[in-house]
């Protein structure tokens, strides 16, 4: 069996914790693991890492890799842009067909929460058995509340295999009153968006019900694994029709089977999902970080090091980050994405990326930007170094606050430690390096008329980012 993890989400509904370059599957909102880390560890009970494929765009792939063990990585399939689930699943299927001819593929989302891993594993196994018999298998999660953000499925006649059944029909995200009826109705399940089928079955069904997509995929297939793969994808993939697999294929197919399952499934689609997953305190609150709460009930407050005080609130979500704060009525949590739309319209890029940016060599955080200066805290991982670089428009002062740095500045190479500083003049080739086994932390004060991140010429780089 192969696993395909769809991880292309833009994360706009978890702003400001998620950002364009840091979508929600990278967030550790439910504990020590991010959603993508949890998704991978769940499925590796069943499928070895080398048979797992993560489908995402190149920028997010880079961020995901930083969260994984470099010694045990899944494969990555690069989507130039998002074209909804039918195209994504089709692309994964032709990659698998090209490499392995056929096989069973389990399609998972990077941002689901599943409480009961054993039930999940058993269900995927049963799905595999059904998939071998040419079924398109979908998992139906037992509804626990009248959720209006999920799709529903009506179960039909039982099949021979375990609790599996045929599917009568799909119900799109319902209105509140409809959802309240559905949750009381027999044989109704949430559409969990987890699928199991053979590569050949799904590609045949795509050909039958969505020939326009099938044609595009066939154009791409010969180039998979070849030298023109990336170029072909960049050319053809964006032209593929963007429909969901449910709408384009599953709702029409005669081969559909549902496995009803009660495994504590949640699609982590908005801040409200925390209510379903995390424990609430005696006042119905979920409070994280530096929070003072007075007379507040049924609210979610997600703070960091800064202080958030809430007084007399109810049914409210407050999310605080270094550079931006969200305050949202729970009933309006789906509209958080509108904030991101407004920021894009305003060209307000500052709040579309995090203040702390994760790089392969460590992280940097912009502490303050002012007229002709910018202050960064830079953390360099042990035995790592930034590129050999220069800047046309700025000079840099570095003060080491912990650890030891090896500095290249022009022709000189020297070492500075905590409480020592150095100066990199404008235009001079330089490199910052941590040659030790402890993290290195420096404060950088940049001076210049132009302080954009794009004023950088790279001469040598451990991560292949040479611009010279």
């Amino acid at each position: 069996m192969y696993g395909v993890i769809l991880a292309g989400g833009s994360g706009t509904r978890f702003w400001p914790l998620s950002r364009e370059a840091y979508p929600k599957q990278l967030l550790k909102i439910f504990g020590n693991q991010s959603l993508i880390q949890a998704t991978l560890s769940r499925i590796t009970y069943l499928i070895p890492m080398k048979q797992l494929y993560i489908l995402t765009n190149p920028l997010q792939a880079e961020q995901i890799k930083l969260q994984l063990d470099p010694k045990s990585m899944p494969c990555f399939i690069s989507e130039p842009i998002g074209r909804n689930t039918a195209a994504a699943i089709g692309l994964a299927a032709i990659v698998l067909r090209k490499k392995f001819k056929d096989g069973v593929m389990a399609v998972l989302s990077a941002d689901h929460y599943i409480r009961d891993i054993n039930v999940f594993a058993d269900t995927i196994r049963l799905g595999g058995t059904l998939a071998e018999k040419e079924y398109l298998v979908t998992l139906g999660a037992k509804p626990t509340r009248p959720e209006t953000a999920y799709g529903y499925i009506k179960k039909g006649e039982p099949l021979q295999e375990g609790p599996a059944a045929s599917v009568l029909h799909f119900i799109e995200k319902p209105a509140r009153e409809v959802a309240e009826q559905l949750v009381k109705t027999d044989d109704i399940y949430w559409n969990a968006g987890i699928f199991i089928w053979k590569v050949s079955t799904i590609l045949n069904e795509i050909e039958r019900y969505f020939p326009q997509l099938s044609e595009g995929l066939l154009e791409i297939e010969p180039h998979i694994g070849g030298e023109h793969e990336e170029e072909t994808l960049r050319k053809i993939y964006p032209q593929l029709p963007a429909l969901s697999i449910d709408y384009a294929v599953l709702e029409k197919s005669k081969r559909l089977a549902i496995i009803p399952v009660d495994m504590g499934w949640e699609d982590v689609g908005s801040w409200n999902a925390l209510d379903e997953v995390l424990p609430r305190d005696a006042n119905g609150n979920i409070l994280t970080g530096n929070v003072v709460s007075i007379d507040t009930r049924d609210s979610i407050v997600y703070a960091g090091k800064r202080l958030v005080a809430v007084v007399g609130l109810g049914q409210t979500v407050v999310v605080d980050t270094d550079d931006a704060t969200l305050v949202c009525a729970k009933g309006a949590a789906q509209n958080v994405k509108k904030v991101v739309e407004v920021l894009k319209q305003q060209g307000n890029d500052a709040h579309l990326v995090h203040r702390t940016v994760v790089r392969a060599w460590g992280t940097y955080t912009v502490l303050e930007e002012g007229k002709e200066y910018k202050i960064k805290r830079i953390m360099v991982n042990p035995q790592s170094r930034l590129s050999l670089q220069s800047h046309k428009m700025r000079s840099e002062h570095w003060v080491v606050v912990s650890g030891t740095a090896r500095v290249t500045c022009g022709e000189s190479v020297y070492t500075i430690s905590a409480n020592q500083s150095t100066f990199v003049p404008m235009g001079v080739k330089h490199r910052l390096e941590n040659p030790t086994d402890e993290p290195l932390q420096i404060i950088e004060v940049q001076n210049g008329n132009y302080l954009g991140e794009d004023d950088i010429t790279r001469f040598d780089d451990d991560y292949g980012r040479i611009t010279h």
Copy 2:
């Protein structure tokens, strides 16, 4: 006529914009002037600056002076601690008696908003005429809504002078239903807490109705203006009974007169006061600073440079500062003071002072504190300098980002400009000075095991803060 401005407020209800060391009368929430600046400019239409007295504690006096023109300062009367309005007014009265024997005094609050300055001035003038006739005059503001945070006064028979009248009785802060009745009742006014009387009249009435206070004041009086004034105040003032002048004297006195007046008066007692004073937009919102508002109504959002996004809110107050954010239901605005109480219980001093601290020589802002380092942005006013000082436990790196600094470090004195840096080793006597007519801005990176503000030995200081 003399003016006495009570300015001892702790500002807990305007947290996090107000802090212990920076109470609300210093805030510029209604425009270019702070509340204390506006109070002073209103009354200087009638009373020259040298006849004005500000009664406050020494810490706040220092902050207030920084907002005033050093060439035209009022007098300051120092309260060692707050003992409510009867003691404060009594202290001001004995200061005036000691200096001038007698005279009319107008008692004002530092944190009132008054829209119509001409009506205010006319009313104070009329109050002066009544005060000469031994009345204790209080202003009654025309109620515009069933406010539960204000006290009310029932007007009695008209007096000979203009609209002035006798007072039937006082009504404490009423419950909602009572307030709704009051606002519909004739001859009912808000107790504006603005008083005009002769020094001799109020001291006689204090003697008659509150002899315990009177005795304490008589003990203090001989030392006013003498070398033991501060010492005597520190000893006796904290022992004075703490009651409001309304409760202790006015409600009992037979000399009371009320002048009803419609001058757009507001006691700026909580964030809700902004609704009464500032214009609202089409959605009933008051939005200040970097705010993105989606589907939000009847709310107050006070942001700075950081971004605050609000989604689907109603009747909510959001106040964002560098280090802390408040989110409060409008109906609970009076409970913001509970946040400050909790912070004090927690010993959470960091959020009881502002990240930017105002000093006589300029300001400093803590940008970040970490293990063994602290980063500050320091602004030095033109032609100003910090003390000649040393630190036992830390060294300092200074990077000039704008302007020019004269640096004393050990035996050396030198000048550095934008893009230059210098290092002050631990224990070395140093001084930072701005010898130019432009502001000086530096970034300071401190290193050391202990980075408290109290690790400072001052050898020479332009502001008399020598610790050596």
